[in-house]
Amino acid sequence: MAKTDTKTASLDRHGLSDDQLREILRNMLLQRQLDNRGFQLNRQGKVPFALGSEGHEALQAGAAMAFHRGRDVLAPYYRDLGLAVGIGLSPYEIMLSIFARAEDHNGGRQFPNHYSSKRAGLMSFSSILAAHIPHAVGAAYALKYRGESDRAVLCTCGDGTTSEGEWHESMNFAAIHKLPFVMLVENNQWAISTPLSKQMAQPEIWKRAAGYGMPGRRFNGFDPLETYDAVNEAMDRARSGGGPSLIEGTCYRYLAHSTDDNDMTYRTREEVREERKNDPVPRFEAILIEHGVMSAQDVEAMRKDVLRETNEATDAAEAMPYPQAADLYTHVYEGAWQPWQ
């Protein structure tokens, strides 16, 4: 029937193929599943801590689709589970980090979700908000310095981080030197218990771009395709020597900050329920079904497969050994000097 054709034609897929659209959904489902698994394991007493990224799935999957694997560099923050998976980290690597096993990239040293992967181009970072942003700018400087065209650094942070002095200093430097750097702000309205209204007086972060002398754009972070378009545009600009951009995706943090936080102490259930109406995961499922990219059964099968993959990764990671006591003493410096001797 012509009806299906018109509906498919009215979806702006920004040049993405059906396969890519399905890949985006799978990433979103995987992020949610892995994220939830962390919380479950914490409730079961199996891991001491987990962070929640529910609400960020569209933003991260859309952004990941615009990332050029093997070329671009990612400088994320600790809520970017979906982005990490989206650029090539496996669920097994995610679970190793949650379980703090020796096999983890960081040898179990770092908090969960603090990935690092040279292979995937994911820079090591700490829990200190904004500390990674000058690093990202420095890395972008190195790319430009070596004349490596067609490579850029995608750096992410939350709304709260934009208040940090280092955020400001980094944006300024990137602008002066027209670096291949994209600052993607994942504005989920909350910084632990601090709402946007206490974080800044003017709620549209992208508007600060003009002050730095760089382009800025705001987009709907619940829409993975609009996200893809915004990130792709900014990354393309960066890769082709057009300099840095500030882009802001608005979304919402559905869960508490982490398993150590109780968000009912600072916001209402009504607010969260109201925002759930925008939940990007069911929303994108419905869109793909409506536009004939997937059937309802396809979606169901994909969910099951994602669950299977998560279960396998969980079991495999859980079975791995912890680091040993002797592992405390490696990688302090290169070379033989051991300061504790």
């Binding site: 960081n106 090591s124 000058p134 990202a136 400087y141 990688h331």
Partner: protein, 336 residues
């Protein structure tokens, strides 16, 4: 760069010239080397250390940064993680505090937290110390704030030949090194510097003067005054050994212990405040490992624990220790 030469194998120069010459060679020999900091480009650094570098190496490699210390170090960390070999400058050590997290919380821990996958080969250079009427914001010593931190290395040479050798070693070091340059010694101290490339390993002190009755350990500007005091005491028949630490972390424990075992007395002289300064760690170490070699309590001659040396000369002089005060401390200890 005009410097006079007294022999074919070495050149006479002062400390600022030694820094400059070393940085110049590093920039020439390794394309990955970049220098960043305030006023390092067009101005050539406020002590003229990088004068004309921007003309020769270009503004891509000699970066005049905005006024933003946290990101001067942070951006350098990112460059290092991505394969460059940055040398970041903090214009005066007194301005280093906004960058404290990037040095202590980030640079020092990058290798460790990523299990060796990411590394941070970074040099942070900064002029420190007083005696130049620098008052509260151009005189401080900061080594005690940083030497505590595993993952960092800290160097404080006093002579031009050591400046070159240690700076080369710092630049080659795959881990972050804080390179401290005492600003009063920049033009004051001259010495022969061997030509050609060489390094001095970090963690090796230098016994400047042999002696039998007292070991004096120092670093920075005070090494020169302590040496002067010890040399003058020869005329009084006193035999004082003077050790220049050169490297604060790693610190040459065995050189200190060896000396103390010989002289049986230890005087530590440093410009920084006494409580929790470098002398505190040396004292604890010697007490732990050489107690029965000591014939006198360990003594530390340091700045009083007041917040700063003042701008007015009497305040600066009261804060700092003079060669005469050092000589008296040495006499007292020898005669103990």
């Amino acid at each position: 760069m005009a410097v006079s030469s007294t022999s074919a194998a070495s050149t006479l120069m002062n400390n600022v010239e030694a820094v400059r010459a070393t940085l110049y060679e590093a920039m020439k020999n390794d394309d990955r080397t970049v220098i960043l900091g305030e006023d390092v480009g067009a101005r050539g650094n406020v002590f003229l250390i990088t004068k004309d570098f921007i003309g020769e190496f270009g503004e891509r490699r000699v970066i005049d940064t905005p006024i933003a210390e946290a990101s001067i170090v942070g951006i350098a960390v990112g460059m290092a993680m991505e394969g460059l070999r940055p040398i970041a400058e903090i214009q005066f050590a007194d301005f280093i505090y906004p960058a404290f997290n990037q040095i202590v919380g980030e640079a020092a821990k990058i290798r460790y937290r990523s299990n060796g996958e990411y590394t941070c080969p970074l040099v942070i250079r900064t002029p420190y110390g007083g005696g130049v009427r620098g008052a509260l914001s151009h005189s401080v010593c900061v080594e005690a704030l940083f030497y505590h931190v595993p993952g960092l290395k800290i160097v404080a040479p006093s002579f031009p030949a050591d400046v070159k050798g240690l700076l080369n070693a710092a630049i080659d070091d795959p881990d972050p090194v804080l390179f401290l340059e005492h600003k009063k010694t920049y033009r004051l101290i001259k010495g022969e510097v061997p030509d050609g490339h060489y390094t001095i390993p970090l963690g090796k002190a230098n016994v400047l003067k042999q002696g039998t009755q007292l070991s004096v350990v120092s670093y920075g500007l005070y090494v020169h005054w302590a040496l002067e005091a010890a040399q003058n005491l020869e005329a009084e028949g006193l035999s004082v050994e003077v050790i220049d630490l050169r490297s604060i972390r790693p610190m040459d424990k065995s050189a200190i212990l060896q000396s103390v075992e010989k002289t049986r007395k230890l005087l530590i002289v440093h410009e920084d405040n006494k409580f929790g300064g470098i002398g505190a760690e040396i004292s604890a170490m010697v007490a732990e490992e050489a107690l029965f070699h000591l014939d006198a309590p360990i003594r530390r001659l340091c700045a009083p624990d007041v917040p700063a040396m003042g701008y007015a000369l009497p305040l600066e002089e009261e804060y700092m220790s003079s060669p005469a005060e050092m000589a008296q401390a040495m006499r007292d200890m020898v005669r103990f």
